[in-house]
């Protein structure tokens, strides 16, 4: 049985605590399972940065300074980018279990969450197929919001969709009135929603339930779905894991240990990450990050997310994209890729957007 220490840098308090709690629960569940199965004895070294960006750097430094080589953590790209210089300084490896906006491939990170060709592109293309015409872009004011909305703007405009408005809210802000008014005034039929945490909940609750445009999100999971209330109904989300698609026994067990009683992509990806890490440490016979990464990459792993392979160059997991819609408070599968798709973090292999036929007004012929 391999033995090693694993830092867990997830914010279990603060504005996006629900996501951090889910991810940490997944890591702890994997540690417990691996111990129970006699495969690995992992000592967790947890820290809670409380959602404060500056705290991630200090927490990571504290962990790696004690000789720990592997960390699972970060939720936001902001926090990951703050952790990277510390990882580089100490030669540590971050197992990052969250969907993100792409355009990164750092030698000290393993990217296990969905990349833009797993979430935004399939979701936007699906909506184009539904004939949307007028899109409103709304996101939290940091790199996730900026980049997902930039991509949405480019993709939708290339297909002939009009962008009727765009707004970014400060992280944690619940001032959604202007966005809500603009969406009605501009008669948007689609809202690309990249808000996170309390902003997202405030916006969705402010929307009301009827006569509203279709809302899509690449960051909505079961970790904070309940916070949106009944207004979440009809929301369409993209991701690499949803409860309805996971192995039943895992989802049932995870729901029991999850702080909110739900099994989300954050929990499941974090769980899969720790299992892949333990397997790679066993194969490599060391905790040294480079041999561990080499052992983890380039081969298929059977995980609760399905089969996945980590690309040795991009360092990203190939995942199966899924689209779901919220019905009665649960995600119901709409469409899934046939199997795992290699991550394309720099979108080098982006098929052109399909230009939409314009909806022609119905003309009544009077004879």
């Amino acid at each position: 049985m391999v033995r090693f220490d694993l830092g867990l840098v997830f914010s279990i308090t603060g504005p996006y605590a629900a996501l951090g709690q889910a991810a940490r629960a997944g890591a702890e569940m994997a540690i417990a399972d691996l111990r129970g199965e006699g495969l690995a004895d992992i000592t967790s070294v947890p820290r809670d940065p409380g959602g404060i960006p500056e705290a991630y750097e200090a927490a990571t430094d504290e962990i790696l300074s004690t000789g720990v080589r592997h960390v699972a953590g970060a939720i936001t790209s902001w926090s990951r980018k703050d952790m990277i210089p510390v990882l580089e300084r100490h030669g540590g490896l971050l197992w990052y279990p969250c969907p993100y906006e792409g355009f990164e491939s750092n030698d000290h990170v393993v990217y296990l969450g969905a990349a833009p060709n797993h979430h935004a592109i399939p979701l936007l293309d699906h909506m184009l197929g539904r004939g949307v015409q007028r899109a409103y872009l709304l996101g939290s004011n940091y790199v996730w919001g900026w980049e997902t909305l930039r991509l949405a703007r480019e993709r939708l405009m290339a297909a002939g969709v009009e962008i009727v408005g765009e707004r970014h809210l400060p992280l944690g802000s619940v001032e959604c009135d202007r966005a809500l008014t603009e969406i009605v005034e501009k008669q948007a039929d689609l809202v690309v929603n990249s808000l996170i945490g309390p902003s997202n909940a405030a916006f969705m609750r402010g929307l009301g339930g009827s006569e509203r445009p279709c809302i899509i999100s690449c960051n909505q999971t079961e970790a904070d779905l309940d916070a949106l209330g009944p207004e979440a109904e009809g929301l369409i989300a993209a991701g690499s894991f949803f409860e309805a698609l996971g192995p039943t026994d895992f989802v049932t067990r995870a729901a029991k240990i999850a702080p909110n009683g739900r099994c989300s992509a954050f929990l499941a990806t974090s769980y899969a990450s720790v299992r892949i890490l333990a397997d790679a440490v066993r194969r490599a016979g060391t905790v040294a990050p480079k041999p561990v990464f080499d052992a983890a990459s380039g081969r298929a792993h059977e995980t609760v997310l399905g089969s996945l392979t980590i690309d040795p160059v991009t360092r990203h997991a190939g995942l199966t994209p899924h689209l779901v819609s919220v019905q009665n408070g649960r995600f119901v599968p709409l469409v899934s890729a046939q199997g795992p798709i290699a991550a394309d973090p720099y979108l080098i292999d982006l098929p052109p957007a399909v230009v939409q036929p314009r909806r022609t007004p119905t003309v009544r012929i009077v004879t």
């Binding site: 491939s105 480019e154 160059v313 991009t314 720099y346 979108l347 080098i348 292999d349």
Partner: protein, 194 residues
């Protein structure tokens, strides 16, 4: 815009085989096909879409073009940070710099290098156009003089008329002067024949 380098050709000019291989793998992950070189480029390499070259051991004369005139974006790999080496790279007109320990940031370096190269190309065009127009000062003076005589106006009035003509013809002032002189010369010749 989403930048894409897919299908482009790169040359990697670096003495370390490890570094060349690492960069070629990175480039391949961006859809770029690369060939390795050291110590010299080969004939035809000037047609590649980008060059990634070593600064530590780079030499003047290693490139088949004048400093600052590379026909493609050039990325310089920074190992030593000695001012002399950096100055050499600046003098060569390297478009963007990538520390050897940060090859994971190749994408952003390429984006910057391509933007700088396009900017340099645009600047060169502006400079060439300025030089060409500077060479047409004499026809400009002649055209102004001809208009002064033909229209019985002073120099400012003649220049104003030439400007109006240039605007109407959508030509630079100097080219408008040339066209005016040609037209006048054609009329004079025709009249002479008649």
């Amino acid at each position: 815009m989403t930048y894409s380098f897919v299908g482009q050709q790169a040359r990697v000019l670096h003495p370390s085989a490890d570094m060349r291989v690492a960069l070629m793998r990175r480039l391949a992950s961006l859809g770029v096909q690369a060939e390795e070189r050291w110590p010299a480029l080969e004939p035809g390499d000037a047609d590649a879409h980008m060059l990634i070259c070593d600064i530590d051991r780079g030499e003047s004369g290693q490139f088949p073009w004048q400093p600052g005139s590379a026909p493609m974006p050039v990325v310089g790999l920074v190992g030593s940070e000695t001012p002399g080496r950096l100055q050499w790279a600046i003098d060569q007109g390297v478009d963007a710099f990538l520390p050897v320990g940060a090859t994971a940031n190749l994408f952003s370096t390429l984006v910057i290098a391509f933007a700088r190269h396009a900017e340099r190309g645009a600047q060169r065009q502006v400079q060439a156009e300025t030089a060409r127009r500077n060479g047409l000062r004499l026809p400009l003076i002649r055209a102004v003089n001809a208009i002064m005589q033909a229209e019985d106006v002073d120099d400012a009035g003649a220049l104003k008329r030439l400007r109006a003509f240039a605007m109407a013809e959508r030509l630079p002032l100097e080219d408008a002067a040339g066209r005016y002189l040609s037209a006048v010369s054609a009329i004079t010749t025709t009249r002479g024949r008649a």
